[in-house]
């Protein structure tokens, strides 16, 4: 049947082809090399090489599927109240002054990205309603493209960067970071990472955080924390959340985007939370959040949040879950140690302590473009730009190959 053509030109003519961030993943899938390794994934993978549900999660999902009392109703716009309550407690601690003083509200969001997007939209709405504030937002250097893109898409125009990753030391140069924050305009919003920086994995010590928090109080800076993997860095939920709690204890207002993807293995279900700790005007901000959620996704999906709520509500489940989280964190640390050991044995002038210093999923080798290309094209080892990689995808089967390949990549530039 011949379709009648409206016109020769498509109305979508203007749209140019956009190469996908997923291209790396697509290339990996198409790669037929037997030794190929994907170290550029966003998920935690187990020793067997794929993502896994915690047995507890599987059990609870089955319970939910057969629970006749659960209704399919539209949830509240801001999500299940029980969920936001527990997520808030998890981040801040049950006895947090902000909770006790009712200066906090939470929004169930579509993953961490959804939380960041909503937070960004809220901040942009402040620009509109408050003529005396117009940004900027400070992002770390480096940061994921998608993070920058999320703020821009929300309409935030004034985005600047603070120095974070230092190639010289293969870690964070706190001096630079402090300097940049001290010189940022007052009331800037600063995006910070609790539970591991993406993409470098580089962490700050508690002493570092104390220094930064002091600067933020003095300069009236507003922290926007990203806590995408609480518990996975140190093995302790409390310890990973320390930077957030410390800022709250100093009386700072802040936003915190949380994800339950990594620490529950619930990637597919998109369970996120945006925490808002304010000094005043809570109800008005909450009402604006509702208004914004309506233009994004109306209300959030239930399945994953129900699982998380069930676990966080039940003391026995909570213990079991905390142990699973600790096990993941410990495995990541073990892989890092083994990687460091292999690299050390392979020789060369390099130091490898920066591999084991932070915990969590990500690790950065500060490789240049040619070195990254070498790894991908010649060794079929897929890493992120800058040579950042997801350590969980390294296992006993590919450890030697990965270590040797990284060694080769670095040696080839000598």
């Amino acid at each position: 049947m011949h379709r009648r053509k409206m016109s020769a030109r498509s109305v979508f003519d203007g749209a140019v082809f956009m190469s996908s961030e997923m291209k790396l993943l697509e290339d990996f899938k198409r790669d037929s090399h037997p030794d190929k390794v994907n170290l550029a994934g966003r998920e935690y993978v187990g020793e067997h090489g794929h993502t896994t549900w915690l047995p507890l999660v599987r059990k609870i999902k089955q319970q939910i599927a057969t629970d006749l009392t659960l209704t399919p109703e539209y949830p509240p716009i801001l999500g299940i109240p029980e969920f936001t309550r527990r997520a808030t407690e998890l981040a801040l601690g049950k006895d947090s002054p902000a909770i006790v003083e009712s200066r906090v509200f939470g929004v169930q969001t579509v993953g961490c990205t959804g939380a960041v997007r909503l937070g960004a939209e809220l901040l942009r709405s402040c620009c509109c309603s408050n003529s005396s504030w117009s940004g900027p937002i400070l992002l770390s250097s480096p940061c994921d493209d998608s993070l920058l893109g999320t703020f821009k898409a929300a309409g935030i125009e004034d985005v600047q960067h603070y120095r974070y990753w230092d190639a010289e030391s293969n870690g964070v140069c706190v001096e630079n970071m402090v300097h940049d924050l001290e010189n940022a305009p007052e009331r800037s919003v600063v995006v910070l990472f609790a539970s591991g920086h993406s993409p470098t994995g580089a962490e700050l010590s508690q002493e570092d955080w104390k220094r930064l928090a002091e600067v933020m109080v003095t300069r009236q800076l507003f922290p926007f924390f990203l806590m995408s993997a609480q518990g996975l860095c140190s093995g302790s939920l409390k310890q990973d959340a320390w930077p957030v709690r410390h800022c709250v204890s100093l009386g700072l207002e802040l936003l915190c985007a949380q994800s339950f993807s990594h620490n529950f293995g619930l990637y597919g279900e998109r369970v996120g939370h945006l925490l808002c700790v304010l000094k005043q005007n809570l109800l008005a901000v909450q009402s604006q959040a509702e208004k914004l959620v309506q233009t994004l996704w109306s209300c959030p999906p239930m399945e994953g949040a129900r699982v998380v709520t069930t676990v966080l509500n039940n003391p026995a489940h909570l213990v079991e879950w905390q142990e699973s989280v600790k096990a993941i964190a410990e495995r990541c640390m073990l892989i890092r140690e083994r990687l460091r050991e292999r690299l050390r044995l392979l020789g060369g002038p390099w130091h490898w302590d920066h591999i084991i210093k932070p915990g969590g999923l990500y690790c950065c080798f500060g490789l240049n473009t040619q070195q990254v290309e070498f790894l991908v094209q010649k060794k079929h080892i897929y890493v992120l730009p800058n040579g950042c990689l997801n350590v969980s995808a390294i296992n006993s089967r590919n450890l030697d190959y990965v270590a040797e390949s990284i060694h080769q990549a670095l040696s080839s530039q000598l």
């Binding site: 053509k5 409206m6 979508f12 203007g14 399919p72 539209y74 959804g114 408050n130 009402s287």
Partner: protein, 410 residues
Amino acid sequence: MSIFGEVPQAAPVAVFKLTADFREDQNPSKVNLGVGAYRTDECQPWVLPVVRKVEKMIADDHSLNHEYLPILGLPEFRSSASKIALGADSPAIKENRVGAVQCLGGTGALKIGAEFLRRWYNGTDNTKTPVYVSAPTWENHNAVFSNAGFEDIRPYKYWDAGKRGLDLEGFLGDLESAPDHSIFVLHACAHNPTGTDPTQDQWKQIADVMKRKSLFAFFDSAYQGFASGNLDKDAWAVRYFVSQGFELFCAQSFSKNFGLYNERVGNLTVVAEDQDNLNRVLSQMEKIVRITWSNPPSQGARLVAITLNTPELFAEWKDNVKTMADRVLLMRAQLKEKLKALGTPGTWEHITEQIGMFSFTGLNPKQVEYMVKEKHIYLMASGRINMCGLTTKNIDYVAESIHEAVTTVQ
């Protein structure tokens, strides 16, 4: 001073406030005819039997992977959902120029479509392209497009309050006077809130003008199957436009027809000129999704995909949908009969002529207030009622109350 210090209080969303007020009401005769969700004759939410079945299948399936879904969503969901809208034998699908993005409900689909159009339609970043929404329309349409950056959102004439039907002349007039390339948000079937759809002949006239003026058709399809009980019949308008060579978007929601309100299952179907255009569009949409919610949730999409792709389950689903549609039709018929029997002034034909979940009763704001305050029957200020809120047990009370409102309140 806090950067959030001057943020103003936003007005509560009317329909949710209505439900909140209903919940607080202690009166035993109270009835909620507000929010658009299906209810059984016992006034309970209904988990479709086929949904319960598939939910269990998913929970017991140990082979499922738990990774992030692709950014554009579950492939088998996207393709089967588009087939539902366009028909499995759609020429456009055969010509490989149909694609889709799994989204967070109908809202999410509208959002992604709007964000794409604002960036890439009618020039680059042309925020001045007029977006037309029906008068009246779902109250969230305006906010979604405005938040996506469109500066000029206008109403097009739709509801004729006088004759309680479609103002076709006004509609066609607004189409004619719209600047070329304007975007029109069209309700695929079961118009919300009026329940009044154009006839096939009227759709043809609408399509003619739109084609001539290169107006962009953005369909909102939240009630497919729910309107007539027949999926294909409810999709006639969208399919007609495709057959006329339109490139278009169709934002589909599976909240109502699967009863999956809480899992946010939506699909943005894209019909493009050819595969090359389609690929470019989808690549840009992927970028937009990445910085909105990154990846969509898997539960609801998996459920729908399994159902649509398994013949026995698909048949069972269609049956469940018909059950819901039939109950609505029954309530419509009974309400009209009761009003006629009571001799309530005015004509009530529109109750059975209108289609889908909602009916625009024609009650004025004072009469609505009477219904809410005196009779504890909650409906929208516009006079919109959700037929699903009616049951064999409350229909007499509601009919009598409408009668009272019309006869005693001017």
